[in-house]
């Protein structure tokens, strides 16, 4: 997809002014955190599990080559095929090659952020293959030709009225008189329309939440069951996933699974956690005849050994989005690419470059709520700051801002001058603001006073008053 991260500020303003988005996000802003908090309150070991989850991921990442090779051996032993893809183009080519090898016309898809990342649907369409998204949210946004606005709830930016209008426009066989205004009716409509697609698709593509090196298994976590139909009914199952999803053992997967659903939706466990190992076995009555795993790097190895390595722990649970006051203010589309919210603010510059995505790590008040809810304790604010450091070193910030900051820092290292200037400023602003106690407009602070008042200083600086007291005492 065409990234629009470079127009983040404008995107954000559009999001803030969009009344539908406001209603949708207000709903999300309250719901997810409350459910997560309830789930965690029921599991006293949650914080200890977070430590273990972090340790498991760190251990795996530290020995990623070993576990990837073990994983590949086990997939192969189970009759599957691993396709290594250093970049998005290689990943797209691998998927297309498999589809073509079986003469596929239609593929069904479970939700996969890696597929979004490599723009798989566009590529399949351009090559005459029809991809059908089957996760309800993904299906809705596919019909609307929109990118997802959330990594686990892709249509969270919409209200049911938009969904109804979308279905009425796309489902041409739909009787206009049929009521469709409520969520259950919309779900039923999607189920009815997608069922034949599941049954006739040539290839089913899913993502993976975890890859288990010990067994060569891929694990998906869903609630709808669409992923299971996607990977069970067609004759070919392709898993599109990325290298950092691997974990050593089933036990390690269990620990991370205990963290995932609770962090994501506040469920104890998602409805369906499905482990797939190879194609159908001799004698099996159903299941795919071929099992392929497309293992994508696409910029991840570049994070190893550097200040962003911790990002590779990410489970894609979306807790950081759900708890982010910036995300819930502007919505996911403002971030302009695949991954929004705090995890996107760290990952996106790594994957598509700081020139395109430089705004994202800046658009944070560093409130730290993301880190406080991350199931694997990724220091997201710290890494956003690291991006800012790179930008500063590359002089990416506006010149006026850089010079202003430089001047301030220069003065801040000269206490006598600093104190004199603060005292002068306190006196001046204190006098000007005494009557009202605040300023409605202020030179050089236009962006502050555009949306809120600037409280007036009391009129003297602390250090000046303290010095006078000292003199009076002596």
């Amino acid at each position: 997809m065409e990234a629009t991260s470079h127009t983040f500020a404008g995107n954000a303003r559009a999001g803030l002014a969009n009344p539908v988005l406001r209603r949708a996000l207000d709903m999300a802003g309250a719901g997810f955190p409350a459910r997560r908090a309830e789930a965690i309150a029921r599991l006293p070991e949650f914080d200890a599990l977070r430590d273990e989850g972090k340790a498991i991921k760190d251990h795996t990442i530290g020995h990623l080559d070993f576990y990837l090779e073990l994983y590949e051996r086990q997939v192969t032993a189970a009759g599957g095929v691993v396709h290594w893809a250093p970049d998005a183009a290689a990943a797209r080519a691998a998927v297309l090659g498999i589809c073509r090898s079986v003469g596929a016309k239609t593929v069904t898809k479970g939700k996969s952020m890696v597929a979004e990342e490599i723009a798989l649907n566009e590529h399949l369409e351009a090559n005459g293959i029809t991809p059908v998204e089957t996760d309800l949210g993904e299906y809705i946004i596919q019909l609307r030709h929109e990118p997802p606005s959330h990594i686990i709830a892709p249509a969270i930016h919409l209200m049911k009225e938009q969904v109804e209008a979308t279905f009425r426009a796309a489902h041409t066989a739909l009787d206009p008189a049929r009521p469709l205004a409520e969520a259950p009716l919309l779900c039923g409509e999607a189920r009815a329309v997608l069922r034949p697609q599941f049954l006739t698709a040539d290839v089913g593509i899913t993502g993976a939440n975890f890859l288990v090196a010990e067994t060569g298994s891929s694990i998906i976590v869903t609630n709808e069951g669409n992923g299971d139909l996607t990977q069970t009914l067609p004759k070919v199952h392709i898993v599109i996933t990325s290298i950092e999803k691997v974990v050593p053992t089933l036990e390690d997967a269990a620990t991370l699974l205990r963290l995932l659903a609770r962090s994501a939706t506040g469920q104890e466990f998602s409805s369906y956690t499905t482990m797939s190992t190879g194609p159908r076995r001799p004698g099996d009555l159903d299941g795919p005849e071929q099992y392929h795993v497309v293992l994508v790097d696409n910029g991840r190895t570049a994070l190893l050994g550097g200040e962003f390595q911790d990002m590779l722990r990410c489970l894609r649970c979306a807790a950081c989005l759900n708890h982010c006051p910036v995300y819930t203010a502007v919505g996911g589309h403002a971030y302009g690419w695949v991954y929004p919210g705090p995890m996107g603010a760290v990952l996106t510059p790594a994957l598509i470059g700081l020139d395109e995505a430089g705004d994202l790590p800046n658009a944070s008040s560093f409130c730290g709520r993301c880190e406080s809810v991350c199931p694997v304790r990724i220091p997201l604010p710290k890494m956003m700051r690291h991006w800012r450091e790179r930008q500063f070193a590359l002089r990416k910030a506006p010149a006026a801002y850089r010079y202003g900051l430089g001047l301030w820092a220069w003065v801040a290292q000269r206490p006598a001058l600093y104190h004199a200037l603060v005292e002068a400023k306190a006196r001046l602003l204190g006098r000007l603001g005494r009557r009202r106690g605040r300023f409605r407009t202020m030179p050089l602070a236009g962006e502050w006073t555009r949306v809120r008042d600037m409280p007036a200083p009391e009129g003297r600086s602390f250090h000046a008053l303290w010095a006078e007291r000292g003199r009076a005492r002596r």
């Binding site: 070991e45 290594w84 249509a155 209200m159 036990e251 104890e268 466990f269 409805s271 050994g305």
Partner: protein, 231 residues
């Protein structure tokens, strides 16, 4: 260089080392082979079998699984008939071709029409066994195989699962042990926790998104427990 070599070389470059040494590889191989358990929540691990059973039922019901307890396997056909009638469903089943299910006294319920095999799109109701049930979260553990096709778990609108009380284990890890004890892994292992659902429209939970909208467990509470059964 192949793509595989590219990626692995990039990993090693990033980690600032060559391939892992034999000694480290041996350590890692041992770590994998021991299947060491991480922290297990006390919620389920510390329970006696009867309490574990209760926890399973409570957790399952909390996610809209319905549970009927029968005291004898012979009561299963009757419970199936009762459930279908109560839910106003046709007396037709797609059943897993599983000897244990076959052995149940279906003759006593001649009005139930039973078809054995994988699921077809017309099926309204399926009946399957399971490998285990996990008390921790009220989760059913099912696996694919020649007697247990996966489609039965997902295509029909109503999925009925027969669970023997001895199959109720505490944690997922107990489930992994059962799985490993069977030898080679099946193609698919399904952990199922309640019926299919979605919150994709206005975060309102709707059941029956693509999979079954009803999940009914018939729990044969025959007093057997893990201790005298599976181990």
């Amino acid at each position: 260089m192949t793509a595989r070599d590219d990626v692995l070389a990039a990993v090693r470059r990033g980690l600032g080392r060559g391939a892992v040494s034999d000694a480290v590889a041996a350590e890692l191989t041992a770590r994998v082979a021991t299947h060491r358990r991480n922290l297990i929540p006390a919620r389920a691990a510390a329970l006696e079998p009867a309490a574990r059973l209760r926890l399973f039922v409570d957790m399952a019901e909390a996610v809209q699984t319905t549970v009927a307890r029968v005291s004898d396997a012979g009561d299963v056909p009757g419970e199936v008939a009762r459930y279908l009638a109560a839910e106003n469903l046709p007396a037709e089943l797609a059943m897993a071709p599983d000897p244990a299910l076959d052995a149940l006294p279906w003759d006593a319920r001649p009005l139930l029409r039973i078809r054995r095999g994988k699921s077809s799109p017309e099926d309204a109701v399926s009946l399957t066994p399971c490998l285990a049930a996990v008390a921790e979260t009220g989760t059913l553990m099912l696996m694919s195989g020649e007697r247990t096709p996966t489609t039965l778990n997902f295509l029909p609108d109503t999925h009925i699962v027969v669970v023997r009380s001895g199959q109720v284990v505490a944690t997922y890890e107990d489930g992994w042990d059962l799985l490993r004890a069977r030898g080679a892994l099946p193609r698919t292992v399904n952990f199922i926790t309640g019926p299919s659902r979605t919150g994709d429209i206005e975060q309102r939970i709707e059941l029956g998104a693509h999979g079954p909208r009803r999940l009914h467990v018939i729990l044969i509470d025959d007093g057997a427990s893990e201790a005298d059964g599976e181990r």
